[in-house]
């Protein structure tokens, strides 16, 4: 190897690492550290002891933990047949299912919560003997709806890579179909089930919008407690104390999830993939997917057009008029959301691409630090980030409270990990022999990078960008802490306000706004899938 060049290059990488490090330092580490300082500084463990003395907070912690366990278990059980269908279908059908189930995953949380609330109203589950409204079941159902894609995608892809001849061996050795599944297939799926399960657990643990809308006034999780202390009671110290507890739990979970991800064995080249499932089994599965994932969406669409006893565009037209509950018209909120989503996407791609290069080409320790460090914002609760930003970035030179920039910046913090996690596997997968082939054919190192690395890496970049866009469009937790002004009102915020005000007219508007949001997200997802093609990512 050319040593001076190598040294130059690693210096270049180290210099580039400053950009993402500074960005995350100012907008993530500093705010989160401020939260820690508020919670632990000065009075030591006193604030934490204080919040733990509150029965309500203790209940919230207990509820957060067990609903996350229940959500995870329920999601795994419900999504496993879906994963089987993905594993055992033609590559084309597999791609199609993967993109369809991904839409719910990136839908705004408030929207999904609103959709389920509307679903309960439509089917008379608000009260009576079979009541779902304001029950834990409503929350669990919404969590399954969200995380279905996580399990179907990761477990399905892994499953598709398993050598089916082992199942055939078991069959020939005398095991029936069910026994073969329990004894041969399931044990081999265990690592990927653990990895997917830990991600579902993390998402359910830090779920905010869903609990706020569906849980009802009395149902509290750690997330909503932080919100209640900070926004409703303006008790920043207690809010910080709860946030510290939350951070510790998330840190432990992220560490565990990364470890499980690492221990996931690589699938070997397969000698025989499993044959496609029988038609009847497949269609039964599509049917249940349609009910679980399609029904809430269908209800939202239907309600958005329903005006009294007829159908019309009245609710869509009304979006243009400001209602007293909102600081601006819903269309303004939608416009803000689109603008912020583009800015957040650009930021996430810029920061995320540099960070990915550092992870892939940087020195070992730097790579490890970035790899883990960039996963933490993904796991950190949005509420903690938003809360940290308002208490940290309120003084010059870092006074962002009056600027709309704070919104896309907050959103991009969650977008960066998505970009990194989609780009890193793509960059790592570039076969060094491709580069060698190119350079033997006479390409200079610079040329190799342009002709080989860039086109391949750009696919990962587009996927990450679309994810960052979708995440920003739907972001709710962090944004709810930011100042409420016409220019910082986002569509999910507007949706939440409309949903939490009783009255049929506003409901209709909320549904119309929800449909507009869904359309935006769906476009982003199909962009993701059309670019991603056959390659598999972590999400």
């Amino acid at each position: 190897m050319d040593r001076p060049l190598g040294r130059n290059r690693s210096r270049l990488i180290a210099a580039a690492a400053v950009v993402p490090a500074a960005f995350l330092g100012v907008f993530f580490v500093y705010p989160v550290a401020s939260v820690l300082w508020r919670g632990l500084g000065g009075e030591g463990l006193e604030p934490i002891r204080h919040v733990l003395d509150q029965g309500r907070t203790r209940d919230a912690i207990w509820f957060t933990a067990w609903q996350a366990v229940a959500s995870t278990a329920l999601t795994l059980v419900i999504a496993l047949p879906g994963a089987a269908v993905v594993a055992r279908s033609t590559p084309r059908a597999r791609r199609r299912i993967r993109s369809v189930v991904t839409v719910p995953f990136v839908l705004p949380t408030v929207l999904v919560a609103g959709a389920f609330a509307e679903l309960f109203t439509t089917f008379g589950l608000d009260d009576g003997s079979f009541r779902l409204r304001h029950t834990v079941w409503a929350i669990l159902l919404a969590h399954v709806f969200f995380n279905y894609a996580v399990v179907v995608r990761s477990v399905g892809s892994f499953w598709a890579g398993l050598d089916h001849r082992l199942e055939e061996q078991a069959r020939v050795l005398g095991a029936g179909r069910i026994r073969t599944f329990w004894e041969i297939t399931l044990p081999r799926l265990r690592p990927v089930l653990a990895a997917a399960g830990s991600i579902v657990f993390l998402f359910s643990f830090t779920s905010f919008g869903v609990v706020l809308v569906l849980g009802g006034p009395r149902r509290a999780t750690v997330e909503t407690e932080i919100y209640r202390y900070a926004v409703t009671r303006i008790d920043f110290t207690s809010a910080a104390a709860v946030a510290v507890l939350q951070l510790l739990a998330v840190l432990a979970l992220v560490t565990l999830a990364t470890r499980l991800e690492r221990s996931r064995p690589a699938t070997t080249a397969i000698a025989r993939p499993a044959p496609p499932l029988r038609r009847s089994t497949r269609f039964a599965n599509y049917g249940s997917m349609l009910v679980l994932l399609g029904l809430p969406i269908a209800v939202v669409i239907e309600r958005s057009f329903a005006v009294g006893g007829r159908y019309g565009l009245d609710h869509y037209r009304a979006l243009n008029t400001r209602v007293p509950q909102l600081p601006a018209a819903a269309t303004t909120a939608l416009r803000n959301s689109i603008l912020y989503a583009f800015v957040a996407m650009a930021l996430a791609v810029l920061i995320g691409s540099i960070a990915s290069l550092v992870v892939v080409h940087g020195r070992r320790w730097l790579s490890r630090v970035f790899d883990l460090g960039l996963t933490i914002p993904l796991g950190t609760s949005a509420v903690t980030i938003g809360f940290g930003m308002i208490i940290a970035l309120d003084e010059p030179p870092l006074d962002f409270r009056t600027s709309w920039w704070i919104v896309p910046i907050a959103h991009s913090l969650v977008g960066v990990p998505f970009v990194v996690r989609t780009m890193v596997p793509v960059l790592r997968r570039i076969d060094p022999r491709l580069r060698e082939a190119a350079s033997v054919l006479g390409a200079s190192p610079r040329r190799v990078r342009r002709e080989v690395d860039l086109p391949i890496a750009s696919r990962g970049m587009v996927v990450g960008a679309a994810f960052a866009f979708a995440v920003s469009i739907g972001e709710f937790g962090a944004t709810s802490f930011l100042p409420r002004r016409p220019d910082t009102l986002t569509a999910p915020q507007a949706l939440f306000r409309l949903l939490s005000t009783p009255g049929e007219l506003l409901r209709g508007q909320a549904m119309a706004l929800a449909v507009a949001l869904m359309a935006l997200v769906a476009v982003a997802v199909f962009a993701i899938e059309s670019v991603r093609g056959t390659s598999e990512g972590s999400f």
Partner: protein, 316 residues
């Protein structure tokens, strides 16, 4: 007795198994010999019940068994790779089929020890399968397949991935092992030497069809068609002026003698210890022979061909 009667399997446009009939008697070792992609693995999978038949019948002991599921067929199966269960150790892999038969724990342990002894890996019960060498893993796979005492063992190129020395040894041992347990077997391979070493009967298969089924020596001595002759490793296929047809001349048909009627020039000569492999150019063309005498390159020799070691064939 297993009988496949006019079996047919297609994958879209390709016909993998085309009107194939095959009988396997109790304790008999049948080798299906054919090039890769000729449908021999698919044929094996239909016998295992892993691949449904589109047409034709499959009988076990005279009873219709086409719809019988794989786990109801009382068979063992071995692939080219060991396909051991990675989440179970050596003993548990061998135990799997025994548990399915409902055998009691102590009996299972005894049977496992017995099988390990049989394959020369005594004491390996608790070994992680990931730590086995390729040959060891394949032997464990054999033990796993044989442990429940199946009536029929199906082997899909089981030695294909092994190195030559190990392969030769297993080819040597396998028929004895099968005969000692009275297990019938269908063995799929593209290697004619392996087929000769193992088979009671050989079925030559190409493009989804079985061309001929016969005992190895008769098949070798009288291949009847050129395609079969070439699969069996014959290279000396010459025009026969007396009949106007073609003839196959076995490599061991020639002896060097001054009175030999065929004159040839030695093109190549390889010393093989107890014999020489030579290529001789004659008026019949270039012929390969196995000679007991030394021959030098460019030397002109007189050869006598034993007519009993030649056979007339037809074009197909």
């Amino acid at each position: 007795m297993w009988t496949l009667d006019h079996g047919r399997v297609t994958f879209g446009e390709t016909v993998a198994v085309d009107d194939v009939s095959l009988k396997i008697a109790e304790g008999e070792i049948v080798v299906i010999l054919g090039p890769s992609g000729c449908g021999k693995s698919t044929l094996l999978r239909t016998v295992a019940g892993l691949q449904p038949l589109e047409a034709g019948r499959f009988l076990i002991g005279g009873e219709d068994a086409a719809r019988r599921l794989p786990h109801e067929r009382d068979i063992g199966l071995m692939f080219q790779d060991p396909t051991l269960f990675p989440h179970r150790n050596v003993g548990q892999n061998i135990e799997f089929g025994l548990r399915m038969t409902g055998m009691a724990g102590p009996d299972r342990a005894q049977r496992i020890a017995e099988m390990l002894e049989l394959i020369g890996l005594s004491g390996y019960e608790r070994r992680d399968v990931a730590t086995l060498s390729g040959g060891e893993a394949q032997r464990v796979a054999l033990a796993r397949a044989l442990a429940p005492r199946p009536c029929l063992l199906l082997l899909d190129e089981p030695f294909g991935a092994l190195d030559r020395a190990l392969r030769d040894r297993l080819v040597e041992e396998l028929p004895d092992l099968l005969r000692s347990t009275g297990t019938a077997a269908v063995h799929v391979t593209h290697d004619h030497d392996e087929a000769f070493a193992i088979a009671d009967r050989i079925a030559v298969m190409t493009a989804g069809r079985i061309l001929r089924t016969d005992v190895p020596d008769r098949l070798y001595a009288d291949p009847q068609t050129e395609t079969v002759a070439r699969f069996l490793g014959h290279t000396n296929i010459v025009d026969d002026p007396t009949t106007g047809g073609r003839r196959v001349i076995r490599r061991d048909a020639a002896t060097v003698t001054p009175t030999g009627e065929l004159t040839g020039t030695v093109e190549r000569s390889r010393f093989r210890g107890d014999h020489h492999d030579v290529t001789v150019t004659t008026k019949l063309g270039s012929l390969d022979f196995r000679l007991s005498d030394a021959a030098t390159v460019r030397q002109t020799i007189q050869l006598r061909i034993d007519p009993a070691r030649t056979a007339s064939i037809v074009d197909d």
